[in-house]
């Protein structure tokens, strides 16, 4: 019997078991009835309220959140450095871009596995680059150097002739910010690299759009990164 059939029977057994479990849960739900004691609902609502307040306080106390400064003080403190920074940016723009890109790349460790055809037994080796093999499915794992506390999303782009085109691959992101996805080798034929735009969901579309044309983060905002994975 083939491997696929082995897996299929186990998956089917799990599906059947899960359906049975769901039926039991629904039976319990019916037995318990729709209503919960008002006191219980109130208790849960109060606990959620307290949790929301704690999280709000923690966000306010976070070092990334600064207390508002008086307008005059802000001008004195920020205006001069801003003016100086603007002048420097004009001169050192290209250098700064390269530096930012390097920071972005260094934020994540790249591990590619599945260089061999997945139907064969492969080793556990991982690489820092992808292979454009039409018969291979490769898994990419991007591990951040530092745990991220932000909610992140990722978009994958395949670069051909310097232009990145978004590809529809399912990405998984752990609480710690580790990004994982599989990509078919057939998608990589004729491509030079894969770019992975990682950003909070609200910024992702903008970051991915910029990453299509330039391999660097659009901002130096924390948690916004474009990781480049070369294709051999």
């Amino acid at each position: 019997m083939s491997d696929a059939l082995h897996d299929e029977s186990l998956t089917k057994a799990l599906a059947e078991h899960s359906r049975a479990r769901t039926a039991e849960q629904h039976a319990i739900e019916s037995r318990l009835g729709d209503g919960a004691p008002v006191s219980r609902v109130d208790a849960i609502a109060a606990a959620l309220e307290a949790q929301a307040e704690r999280e709000s306080s923690a966000r306010a106390a976070s070092p990334t959140k600064r207390a508002p400064r008086p307008r005059v003080a802000w001008l004195a403190v920020a205006a001069l450095p801003l003016a100086a920074a603007a002048a420097i940016v004009l001169v050192a723009r290209e250098k700064a871009r390269t530096h930012t890109e390097e920071i972005g790349a260094a934020e994540y460790a790249v591990a590619v596995s599945g260089h061999v055809d997945t139907l064969r037994a492969g080793g556990d080796d991982s690489f820092a680059s992808l292979q454009a093999r039409p018969d291979a499915i490769q898994q990419i794992v991007l591990r951040p150097r530092h745990r991220s506390n932000a909610v992140l999303a990722a978009k994958v782009l395949v670069v051909r002739d310097g232009v990145g085109v978004p590809v529809d691959v399912a990405t998984e992101i752990s609480d710690a910010g580790v990004v994982r996805f599989d990509i078919a080798g057939a998608l990589l034929i004729g491509a030079s690299e894969v770019r992975v735009a990682i950003a909070p969901p609200a910024l992702l579309a903008e970051v991915a759009a910029r990453a299509a044309n330039e391999a660097r983060p659009t901002t130096t905002i924390r948690d916004v990164v474009v990781v480049r994975v070369p294709i051999e």
């Binding site: 019997m1 059939l5 082995h6 897996d7 299929e8 029977s9 186990l10 998956t11 057994a13 799990l14 599906a15 078991h17 899960s18 359906r19 479990r21 769901t22 039991e24 849960q25 629904h26 319990i28 739900e29 318990l32 009835g33 729709d34 209503g35 919960a36 219980r40 609902v41 109130d42 208790a43 849960i44 609502a45 606990a47 959620l48 309220e49 949790q51 929301a52 999280e55 037994a121 499915i137 909610v151 529809d168 691959v169 399912a170 998984e172 992101i173 752990s174 599989d182 078919a184």
Partner: protein
């Protein structure tokens, strides 16, 4: 109310609750309490007698709600209307995963410290067949399912529900989830590999126990080697 209309209302409720509206948050809790309590009680009944489970259900239900709304409701924000699951179904899936995680966390778990009475455990399976074998098979499937669910993120839970449990056509799910068919086949393949690895690990772990039945006898074709 139609399914789509209900989901639109739920989406609005969820948005307001996560934006900080305490009144709407309470309304949402009231609506979801039956779903979460049923998941909690069902999971507890695997470890405790009915009486013991009933005593801790309320506290554990509250703990699951705190997890659902934790970090600005990060878990709940993964739900979007029109993706093949109502809010209640989605919350049920996530609650099940969370309550399993709570119950499995730590070796000295206050929720599971008393074993289930053997007669009650057997009574749940029913009579007629080799009861010991049925109980063991069920426990193994429970263990594999629990471990598999624990590894899935919110999107993975939805895919598990739609593709594996509901056996919905992959093309339909691709439309619901706004993704490609190829991506879903890859997910399905990876999930099959995951459960096989979990089953193999369980088989290895159960091997040194002299009285334990080999996993391969209980779940044929699972405990093979690559």
């Amino acid at each position: 109310m139609t399914g789509a209309c209900e989901q639109a209302v739920d989406h609005e409720l969820l948005r307001s609750a996560l934006a900080g509206d305490a009144r709407v948050r309470r309304q949402l809790v009231e609506r979801l309490v039956p779903t979460v309590r049923a998941r909690v009680l069902h999971a507890l009944l695997r470890y405790k007698s009915h009486e013991q489970a009933a005593q801790v259900t309320e506290d554990l239900t509250q703990q699951v709600f705190l997890l659902l709304f934790e970090d600005g409701g990060r878990r709940l924000r993964a739900w979007t209307p029109g993706r093949g699951a109502s809010l209640a179904t989605f919350v049920g899936l996530v609650s099940e995963r969370e309550v399993i995680a709570i119950l499995r966390r730590g070796r000295r778990n206050p929720w599971t410290e008393s074993p289930t009475d053997h007669d009650e455990l057997v009574g749940r399976v029913g009579a007629g067949e080799d009861q010991a074998s049925l109980v063991e098979r069920r426990e193994l499937l429970d263990a594999v399912l629990d471990k598999a669910l624990a590894t899935l993120d919110e999107r993975g839970l939805l895919l598990f529900r739609r593709i594996i449990v509901d056996e919905a056509p992959v093309a339909t799910v691709a439309g619901e989830m706004a993704t490609s068919i190829a991506a879903l086949y890859m997910w399905k393949s990876r999930f099959a590999k995951l459960v096989r690895e979990i089953a193999e690990r369980l088989a290895r772990d159960s091997a040194p126990m002299p009285t334990a039945r080999p996993v391969s006898l209980l779940l044929p074709n699972i405990a093979r080697t690559r």
